[in-house]
Each structure stands twice: as structure tokens, then as C-alpha cells.
Subunit: 197 residues, 2 copies
Amino acid sequence: MKHNGKTNPPGRVKIMKSFSALMKKKDFHSITTAEIAGNAKVTEGLIYKYFKDKKELLYQVLNEYFFEFLVKIEDRVANEKTCVDKLSVVIFSSLESYADNRVFSKILLLEVRNSLEFFNSCAYGRVRKYAGTILGIIEDGIQKKELKPDTDPYLLRKVILGAIEHACLGEIIFGRELDIEQVSSGIVNIVFNGVKA
Amino acid sequence: MKHNGKTNPPGRVKIMKSFSALMKKKDFHSITTAEIAGNAKVTEGLIYKYFKDKKELLYQVLNEYFFEFLVKIEDRVANEKTCVDKLSVVIFSSLESYADNRVFSKILLLEVRNSLEFFNSCAYGRVRKYAGTILGIIEDGIQKKELKPDTDPYLLRKVILGAIEHACLGEIIFGRELDIEQVSSGIVNIVFNGVKA
DNA sequence: TTTGTAAGTAAGCGTTACTTACCGACGCAA
DNA sequence: TTGCGTCGGTAAGTAACGCTTACTTACAAA
């Protein structure tokens, strides 16, 4: 019997919470299904009632976190007027979410990209929404002449996303603290004004 | 019996080549030791004569590729005089290597970072060397007033590395072509001059 | 009362990464 | 030339893993 997704039974919630807790301490591959089930106090078989396989559990957990992430970003962006302010908010909020929810950032930055299956998941759909929002802001900024007219919007998005991710990568991998304010304003300054004297 | 590293027997070479070939088509987790051995025409046990485990094989393959990568980068950087030119060469050469050797970039960007073991490997030592070179160029550029005096060298390095990686990430994941020249000059332009009108 | 279905269990399945014990060939010193 | 250690490689396992199957229980609607 398969789960049709219309309900959210306690077993399913327990499995996701258990997995999420384990992801705080270990990497995906070294977490076993026995561990997930034992920690959730359900049997191993139940995992496969709600999730096609172990990876889908990973994607669904990411999907839930990404939903909250998206809501926060979209909400904050809507409060800003200029392109520069909107992008600054994107950079700050992304860093904040990555710093605050280490499981979220670990999954998104370290665990899902190695498998092509991810790119067919709901979670990846949300990633595309996030990316689409940023692209929209950039294109609007070029049109309104806030950004240089020869800016390649796709490349600028890549640079911004890459800067955000790499700026907190070490901190996420090694579990260190992150000074969001400083890193965020530093990235904003480099990307908007450049570093050449 | 363990391998002491003084020799490089044909079996070891065959295993690494076989694994590398498989990494062209599949991700690390879905490659089995049976597949590696079968493809290399050796027995499965021989893998564990030369490599502690499957992950160490991954790290050693990366280590070999990173060696060539480092040589090329260091060599080209030495031919440039200004900080901007040196960093431009770093950006171009990194993108070029990532585009030319997809197995190398797949391993480095998608497969090793999820496990802390990697950060004790020789390959990671080479990553640090690469990162150290970039930091040196930046610090030199600040000192020689080519770069703005308030630049945070560590953050600038992160932005550059993040930009490089994210700029080719999609192409690496989905096996698409990459216009190195265009992407490279685009990143250089954004990072040095900024995008604000 | 019956029927259908969702939630959950128990036990097993084939594969996987990895281990152990062994083999033959070669170098080399006694 | 015999004995011995080492190196490259093999064969045959083993425990544990991800996942499947068949089953049970609870309960709501007809």
C-alpha cells in the first residue's frame, strides 16, 4: 500500500523528525534506516510506506525547510523597493537561514546535488522558485538602470548564489559560528561596488 | 597486507582508471565495488589492498587530478604581474579545468564535501594550497593598492571561489557545455567593478 | 454487519562494502 | 639451493544495509 499524501500521520512526522535530528550529527550516508526507525520508535518498514526510498525522505525534509525559507525571503523582499535593497535582503536572509538551520543548509549544500533524482523532486521546484525570484529582481534592476546595462542577469545570479553558499560553507561543514551581518554586508559591497581600487 | 605507497602496481592504476570512467556516467553512491573491480578486470579484494575504503579511492583519484590542476594554476599565475591579472587567470583556469575534466569537477564540487573524512585527506591538503595561493594574491593586491584597502581578503576569496563553482555547477550536473571565456570575463567584471550603475 | 482503507508490524530478501586466508612469483641472504 | 619475506593478486566468505512482502489492527462509512 502506498501513501497518497492526503494525510500526515504521526509515524511519518516521527520519521522526519528523527531523520532531521540525526542529520545534525552525521552525514546522510552514515545514517542507517535502522537508526532512523529506532530513533523514531517505529519499524523500518514504515519508512517505506511514506517514502519511496531513503533519498526521498531526504528530499521531503528539505522540501519542508525550503518552504519556510521561501516564505521568509519572499515576504522580506516584498518590503523593499530598490533592486539593491531587495538583493541585499536575499543575501542576508539566505545566510541567516543557513546559519540558523544547519540541517537545512547541510542538506541543500552538501547532500542532494550529487544525485540527479533530486532535480525531479518537489524540493528542487522550490529551489527554482527561489532562483526565479532573484532573477526577476536583477532583470528589474537592469531595466530601471539601478544595475549596469551590460550585466548578464543569469551570471550575476550565479555569482550571488555562489558567494552566499561559499561564504558559509566552511562554517556549515565544521559547525562553526557565522557572523551574518558582516559576511552579508561584505558580499553586498563586493558584488555591487567591486573590489578594484 | 597493506600497500605502503612506494610503488604503483598495474592493479592499482586499473582500479583508479575504472572508477574514474564510471564516475563519468554515474554518481559515487551508485557505483558499486563489484562494478569497479569488474570494469578494471581485477577482484574486489584488490581494491582494499590499495585503498582503505571506497571513499579513499575517491579521494585519491581527486588528489591526482588536483595535482595537475594546481601545477597549471601556479604556473599560469606566475606569468602574470598584477593582482587583477593573477586573479583573472585563477578564475579562467579553474573554469577551464572544471569544464575540461568533468570527473574532477564532479568529485570536487559534488561528492567529497558531505563527509568530514575528506578534510583529513591529501586531496584536501591540495585544496588548501590552492586557496592559500588565492589568498596570497589578494593580500598582495591590497598591499599594493590594486584592491580597495577595506577589502576582507578571506571574504573576497570566498566570493571568487563561490562564483567560480556556482557558475559551472549547472553545466557540471547536467553535462552541458560551458562558455569559459564569457563566464570567466563576466565574473571578473562583476567582482572587480561591481554591478551597481 | 460488512467492507474498505489507512497505520503500523514482523520477518525476510538480495546486495553492498569490506575482511580473511591463501597463492605464486620474485629478490636475496645464508 | 634452500629458506624466507614481500609484493601483486585471488577466492570465498561475512555482517549489515536498504528495501520488500505479507500480515495485523483500528476504525469509519455503507
